[in-house]
Amino acid sequence: MKRTLIALLAGTLTLSAQGPVPRPAPELKIVETSGKSAMLSSYRGRVVLLAFISTQCGHCQRASLVFEQLSHEFGGRLQVAEVAFDEAADPAAFAKRFGLTFPVGASSSDAAHAFLGVAPGARLGTPQVVAIDRTGVIRAQSERLGTPLLQTLDYLRDLLNAMFRLEAKR
């Protein structure tokens, strides 16, 4: 009985765990529908705002518009990218529908879980927003079930400015 309880607890903790922050961002291949692909490491030297989305999710659609505005505000200093990991996602149609000018690719659910440091199969709240600094270190990441604060324009603007300030200090 005791062993079963411990095993259950350990299983629950493993499923709810996620990668700590700060930590080096793992490599990720972003494949667009056109076949064009980019490695996450190729964005090094710029701050990256990466979001794992589900193209059917309303929060992701609203957040994408926020990311689009931020990509214009910060210009060349910021690279925004989105990765759709829902089944039958059509990233090109999604980008066209919402007028997104940044890369929107697709990946498997397992790849998204691995990048976020979450156990495979664990439930994820979307969008999962990740902010990576110029050196490739993850400085902010959504909680496993989602962080609405990381989808708001004002807070993300403050967060990105704080990341630039931190780098300027170093």
């Binding site: 996620q18 700590p20 922050v21 700060p22 400085r139 902010a140 990441q141 959504s142 909680e143 609405p148 604060l149 708001t152 004002d154 807070y155 603007r157 403050d158 967060l159 704080a162 990341m163 300030r165 931190l166």
Partner: protein, 147 residues
Amino acid sequence: MIDHALVISPAAALLFHLKQGFWLYAWPMMIGFLTILGYQSLGRVTMMGTAKWLTVFGLASVVSMVSLFGWMAMVRRVEMIPFYGCGVGLASAMMSRIYAVTMPIHRRLKIRVIRVTWRGDTKGIEQLQQALRARAAAGVEAAVAKV
């Protein structure tokens, strides 16, 4: 999860949490409160039997629209249900302390205004009962005069 080395102004986060708190907790409570307040007031105004049908019709329409709009706008999360219940409970408790809701004509403005008589207001209750008795007596006298 945010790196603690980042210095971020708390203003944006505070505003976000205030807005979220309002929509998640205060809004359902307000809707629950307004719904019960509206329906109970409507019931009492209707029960007086002196209000014009147009007043009752207008009041009933507005109250039902307010409650339906509230439900449509608030049904988002299960967590909102207890707060809606709290609003309903507060309004019901408040209405149980009300003796009557009347709509007398304002002396100066010459328009009907909503007047609440509380159960603790013995003087107000007595005045209301006197007015009702006088009206009933006047009605009887008029009926007798017709005969």
